[in-house]
Symmetry: D2
Subunit: 346 residues, 4 copies
């Protein structure tokens, strides 16, 4: 792939800060399974970032991070409320059900991938008999699969509803950095101060090779979570290679800088196609994705010019930007969209 594509933000490689930390961690020997100093430093880094004494665990990927976190919030006969566009519902091959041994996902239709207190309450109160799995957790994706972000006050209202209904609140933060960048809000304000119990903070899409952090703000929920990770094949023996990159990302704010860059590239594309006939935003651009309404013909012409992208919810074309997206290449994409959308192009 000689030229950058924007099909997914996990096509990008390892950012310099993560790489440098891995290189530093690679000097000599270190105790295994997280008893090394890098892991301690990364966990402390998160506690500083979130301004609270949270419990932090490092696992390999987002599938596991979210599934393990949700499994720790419910039993097999409970259920988890999510948006029907949530990644755990659409793209995890039944992982949440597997890790929890059967917890059902109650997937709600939403306008923009964002749950509302009203929708949560309605589904939570719809059934209360033992023939239907009892709702026990709500999961929200920040930013959502369509690039929207929950504002702190929206999260706060959701959390209030959850508390009233006896539900835990989980945040899938595969693109949490992008959400923080979009909101220009502190990580604490977007999470525990708003009422989030557990956050899965994604490192992979933020510029790491692998690795996500599961962060329990309600530390009682973290009881024995280390055992859970181990049993589920998510305890790295050479843990420092999962944790050191986080040290690199956190210590000079690279995590936020990279997210801002990715978001800016999305904004750049969105701005560049304003006014192109027949092309419109399928969703407001808030984070690092652009969802465009493009006719099938335009999509076909774009593909013929060498562009890769996913058709997405409702037929929109998805373009995702990463920490290393090249603005010149974004401009090239914008030019090609403009070109392909020309009536003459037909």
């Amino acid at each position: 792939m000689p030229e950058q594509q924007f099909a997914s933000d996990n096509y990008a490689g390892i950012c310099p800060e993560a790489w440098a930390a891995m290189a530093a961690a690679n000097a000599g020997h270190a105790p295994a399974y997280g008893a090394d100093s890098w892991t301690q430093a990364a966990a402390d880094g998160f506690r500083r970032l979130f301004e609270t004494s949270c419990e932090v665990f490092f696992v390999f990927n987002g599938t596991a991070a979210n599934s393990l976190a949700l499994a720790s919030l419910c039993q097999s006969y409970h259920s988890v409320i999510c948006a029907d566009s949530a990644h755990i519902e659409t793209d995890e091959c039944g992982a949440p059900e597997f890790f929890s041994n059967g917890s059902k996902l109650l997937a709600l239709p939403t306008a923009d991938g964002k749950l509302t207190p009203e929708a949560v309450r309605a589904i939570a109160e719809r059934r209360s008999d033992i023939h239907f799995p009892k709702p026990k957790a709500v999961t929200i994706t920040q930013a959502t699969e369509t690039g929207r972000v929950y504002r702190p006050e929206e999260i706060g209202r959701l959390a209030e509803t959850c508390r009233a209904l006896g539900l835990h609140l989980h945040m899938d933060g595969a693109r949490f950095a992008n959400a923080c960048a979009a909101l220009d809000a502190s990580p604490a304000d977007v999470t525990w101060r708003a009422g989030v119990d557990v956050l899965c903070f994604g490192g992979t899409k933020n510029g790491m090779a692998i690795g996500e952090a599961v962060i329990f703000f309600d530390t009682a929920l973290a009881e024995d979570f280390g055992y859970r990770c181990k049993q589920a094949g998510q305890l790295a023996s050479k843990m420092r290679y999962l944790s050191a990159p986080w040290v690199g990302m956190l210590e000079d704010g690279a995590w936020l800088r990279h997210a801002r860059h990715a978001n800016a590239c999305a904004r750049r594309l969105a701005d560049a196609i304003v006014g192109v006939p027949g092309v419109s935003l399928a969703a407001p651009v808030e984070a690092n994705g652009v969802f465009l309404n493009l006719s099938a013909a335009v999509q076909e012409r774009l593909r013929m010019r060498g562009w890769h992208f996913y058709g997405f919810i409702g037929g929109a074309a998805r373009f995702m930007f990463a920490w290393d997206s090249d603005p010149a290449r974004v401009d090239a994409l914008a030019r090609d969209i403009r070109l392909c959308a020309l009536p003459a192009a037909a």
Copy 2:
């Protein structure tokens, strides 16, 4: 940890060949989830190494590799025959039972961690009623947890027994490289030519940051295994960082070179303590571990001199060597053992 310890072979870092391949893989973008060229190259590399068209999957760690492989060989109401010193029985926190949703491990006492055809047959034929989980797979560890290796003809006889009893044969190869080095045998001879159905080839202990390869020689058993990995949180989005290191390890024989070095260090220690009064080998040294009978007092004195090691099966002290173990440091350990064992030392 300023000086090398030999408490575990996963204290070592990433070897130069794996590191260089990761660096090379880090140039630019690549498709996710294994559709990249590195993953293709690594799988092809394994097929060349094993001289057969096996199916290859890359997962994060050994816990998952072995558990997923075993889960693919049996249903929840089946059982898996293993040695009672097998890592899956003693140190995986119930992972095989979790991934398989309940398959019971039938752990057999063994002299040296090695199963015999007779022992396998005896346990497999002990029960045939539906009140006990039906044996469906046998797993052997190569090299074993106490540093012993199965010779190809031993594996062949086990495989013959397995076939006769309708059992699949799985090999936990967390230290497969060390076994190949010890035997000076081709990987094919130690596996499929001897009758092994599935091998988990360990990369972590061999010099990688993370990553194990699950290799199906009986390719029919690999059906839908990709789905299994995905659902169980073992599909890396940036797969190239799991696979590229294998390319580096395989292309110039680094995997075998490193294993030979580790084995040689073990041999070096074993040779150096011959004749030390009160010190003896708890097991013959065949791979990269040395198990020493040391009195509690000697162990205590060694620890006071700064050495870390695990007490192991039957009270022996375990020393493990890695791709980067420093022979001078091995010699230092030998000297200290000799010193601590002196009657005067008391």
Copy 3:
């Protein structure tokens, strides 16, 4: 409850034929776990009834029967296509996901609870990537939760589609007897001759105390199913009390006679309310249920007159009839509906 209600067909007790067989089975001792003569006789009775050498297993209830049967058709990373009104989706508290360790249900909206070949094909072909659980089975309910029945040719077309797509076909026959009675078709024609692989034949709603039969027409799918039942807590030690009632039900056709009676009661109610203003059938009456569109006010008045019933899909009132429903009481219900629906009643 001094007077019969029609809220559910599992409010009824044990029919005389089942009771007599239990009494007969209660004479003296018998080997446990299905090695008794009653269990043999019941299995043989099913083979005669279905005119084929099927494999038959007796389990405690429908939750388990359907969940175990489906679990035997797929792995945890597979999915099962069903109607969104299917009992396994709406009223089993996640049992199918639990028994299968995570198989996702793909619940399709339907007009009448009946799947069509087109809908099955569309969902089965919608995704083919490993990020979504691979469809492996289709389940249909005969009769459906809204009292509709699949005709043999409808089942045949579904089965053809299933075969073409590599899907197994399962039938939830909690009210299979009612469906056979409604269709006046042989059990063989409605099942294996039409392409059904596995049937769960419900005994409880047909007049037994407990007990369902899982019948594999594709006997290869029954491999080790006995172990599966045992592990899942569904192997009765005193099996004769699960199987003998079936002997009683099958030997003189009681199963069909009772189903016909229940269906006739449903028809009797439906006929009796024809022309009542403001009252209409929410679904055609084919089996033993009547679903009535009744205004909230009419429902309230009925309840005040002492009638129990469930509000159901779309607000309809459900009335279910059993083997012992009293026609006089059906008539009383009809009279009260007529009365409550009178404008003057307001």
Copy 4:
């Protein structure tokens, strides 16, 4: 089987008291899923019997009762301490691991099937790292599989150890009635007063067709247990047929009377073979089983005379007695043992 055998106590049928209650319960209709008056009465009956406000659930069999109870005491990454002769370890086909999604059983060798505080403490404290499932529950069988009973003070000491170690205490009471009869102790004294958290009280071996009661003395542990039963296929729709027999058994003390009779038959056999050369008790007779050391030749001769029995732990021959065992037939067995043991018989 024209003549009584003593191979198992589940060869017996339904006792008159249970049968009569089922007959009474069979009059007319009743609400489903436990909302009927019989189920209420049975639960109240248990509360009276145990002199405490325990939570009571009715499930189909002992496999499920014990597995569900244990699953409610631990997570998948926890472990359960049991005797290596415990039924859950030897004869449940992996059910506890299945229901708990992987909790490992830590099976301890014992002299007589009885755990001791010392053994529990030793295994519970042997490992405390996350590579081994954390012990969370202890299960004891009352009476044990070899017919021994725990005295209240023995249970009390075990419970004290459990509390000190943070372990829940579960009692498998498949033959709880026989234990109470043997001890002549009140059910309360043998359970919650001694520190038992959860009891599975067996009805099947006590004279019922099916059905066990799961009784939570620590009612906090019963949270959402009804959902757990439902999801696991253990909620009977016509619940009255599971609960009414308990009413019959409890209301006039039939449960204890039957157990006493069975115990007396065991004692009768034991007394009758005193002094027979070459025949000895393999275990003291405390409950309803007799375990005899018989030479292979004697066993063979007994079988040739038409007697059925299981060879058991250590080669002993097991004879089990039930509520309806015929003393004359016990005497006949004793005579035949005496006869077969005669040197002349060879």
